[in-house]
Amino acid sequence: MSEALLKVDDLSISYASEEGPVQALRHATLEARAGEAIGIVGESGCGKSTLASALITLLAGNARVTSGSVQFGGRDILSVSEEEKRKLRGRHIAMIFQDPMTSFNPVLTIGEQLVDFQDQREGLSKPEKRQQAALMLKRVGISDPVRCLDRHVHELSGGMRQRAAIAAALLMAPQVLVADEPTTALDVTMEAQIIHLLRELRRDYNGAVVIVTHHLGVVGELCDRVYVMYAGEVVEEGSTDDVYHNPRHPYTQALIACDPANLHEQTPVLPTIPGRLPDLVNPPRGCSFAARCPRVHERCRSEGPDYVEVGPRHRARCHEARS
């Protein structure tokens, strides 16, 4: 089995706010191995993007790391200099965003930007970089790459934009590719095409892929392993197959149950998860899911659960995970 390329160890991140620090990420642990695609899922506000921003060392201005580290290439990349971080981002760790518009400058052509993105690549002339850019656009399924180079981002359709953004991210052959909700803004056929493209690209790409999404379908189609997050914590992790077919955390179970895509019988009343995420300024003392958990008992409110191993590389943060 291959070594972990990227390791998140006990990472906690808070955002300064008027009410006090928002504890958006609490003691998260995760690893991404070469050749592996991992998924990070959970409902909106649970800390997925905070974790993704740490993976690419692009934390918000008011963010503070209160514990832990992100290990890559033998060092904690959250504590290196800004200059080093910038180098890492260009070359070793790349990101695809939900809105591909954010990956491009609206006043420059796609070609100009794809050439600029290669500024860390030595020994290539500008025409050669342009050639590389065209090849990469072709790889991501853009049928007329040379024409695309001369276009501006607003002249492309939503699906084409996301393809171009993927091309931009892959241009420097990064070892880690992080995609934050890469298909959320697309319709069902474009989503299927982008999923298909990412899967194809994985075949001859030996890096690690991290997919952040609130859509279990994307995880099912693309990921080998999945991390389920709730209220800033990773509450369950395991192979996609184990987590889907044998979820051990009540939150994971509820998340799968209320997605209509997973219900085989037509039902007029869909299951829900009553209640809301807890306030992350004052997270609950015990289990963070206690207020909404159908299996809650006394101990859950006073004592936060530890990880319980429930199978090989499969664990859940719940007192009841084994029962």
């Binding site: 069902v188 056929t189 299927a192 099912g220 077919h245 997605d259 209509p260 895509a261």
Partner: protein, 335 residues
């Protein structure tokens, strides 16, 4: 037999943008067809789903039904009365309400929720039904606490904002609610709450819904019938359960096959639908789906298929629908 809202052979053209494009299309009239010979009927108390890729004309149809954009040809009728001029649509807007695609953006950021809830009364000159209590009553109807009326839209969660837009749509006690992507961008549990709210309102108040969405799983669970739109034309419609169990149109089959599966054991290695929906400026000849259709034959590029009532309650527009029907008899192409 007339339904609550009938769309009869409706077409809608718009002026094609910019002279530059005219140069690309020599000789062609500078118009583009957004909707073409579209027919659809929404029954009393019915939940009808409208699906299709981005750019297929779903929102345009919704806006035309509300009189927010003029149709070029065909007939719209509400409660059996044909809609001809502005005055007719003013009445429609009291009997039918549109929830816009981006519910949160359609709320004004600077006005409190309560003030925005009573806007439909003010716009239509209708007296407030419960006086000062009107906003509270409206919020409670959609399961929100009345105190939310004092908040601004940015102080609401995505699900709460969506409920507020449902409440606003219900203001004038409409018979029909047209909901354009009512759950896009919501978490699955919040999505389930909104859908349960809508099905509850349907059974409690006898409301009809036209639900426009990309999410086929939503349509499968909450609608009675489903209509599939492609490039401004109806590809297929029929009872939801039957269409999902045995889709007859190749486009419907591709859409169903494109749905991502949460179960990794059901992964599909192949791609159900390649390429993008063509531009309305370059509408393909014959069957508009022939450029992407997996079973297209030469005839498809030259001859437009007719609407074919393959059973009394199922319409399919494909030259070979009869063949696929025989092939799929007893088979199950649903998921």
């Amino acid at each position: 037999m007339s339904g609550l809202y009938d769309v009869d052979n409706v077409s809608l053209d718009l002026a094609a943008p910019s002279a530059g494009l005219q140069r690309l299309l020599p000789g062609s009239a500078p118009r583009m067809t957004i909707l073409s010979s579209l027919s659809l009927s929404i029954g009393h108390g019915e939940m009808l789903g409208l699906v299709g890729e981005s750019g297929s004309g779903k929102s345009t149809l919704a806006r035309a039904m509300m009189g927010l954009v003029d149709i070029t040809d065909g007939k719209l009728s509400f409660e059996g009365r044909p809609l001809k001029g502005r005055a007719d649509f003013v009445k429609v807007r009291q009997g039918a309400a549109l929830m816009f695609q981006d519910a949160v953006a359609s709320l004004s950021p600077r006005r409190k929720v309560a003030a925005q809830l009573i806007e439909p009364f003010q716009i239509n000159g209708v007296p407030l039904p419960d006086g000062d209590r009107a906003p509270a009553v409206m919020l409670e109807r959609v399961g929100l606490s009345s105190s939310l009326g004092q908040r601004y839209p940015h102080e609401l969660s995505g699900g709460q904002a969506r409920r507020v837009s449902v409440a606003r749509a219900l203001a004038l006690k409409p018979k029909l609610v047209i909901a354009d992507e009512p759950t896009a961008g919501l978490d699955v549990s919040v999505q389930a709450e909104i859908l349960n709210l809508m099905t509850g309102l349907r059974s409690d108040m006898g409301l009809s819904f036209l639900i426009i969405t990309h999410n086929l799983a939503v349509v499968r669970h909450v609608t009675d019938r489903v209509a599939v739109l492609y490039l401004g034309r109806m590809a297929e419609w029929g009872p939801t359960r039957e269409v999902f169990a045995r889709p007859y149109h190749p486009y419907t089959r591709s859409l169903i096959a494109a749905e991502p599966q949460a179960d990794p054991r059901k992964r599909r290695p192949d791609l159900a639908l390649k390429g993008e929906i063509p531009s309305v400026l370059a509408r393909p000849s014959g069957c508009e789906f022939h450029t992407r259709c997996p079973i297209a034959r030469p005839r498809c590029a030259v001859e437009e298929p007719e609407s074919n009532m393959i059973t009394p309650d199922r319409m399919v527009r494909c030259h070979f629908a009869e063949e696929t029907r025989i092939e799929t008899q007893g088979g199950n192409h649903g998921t």
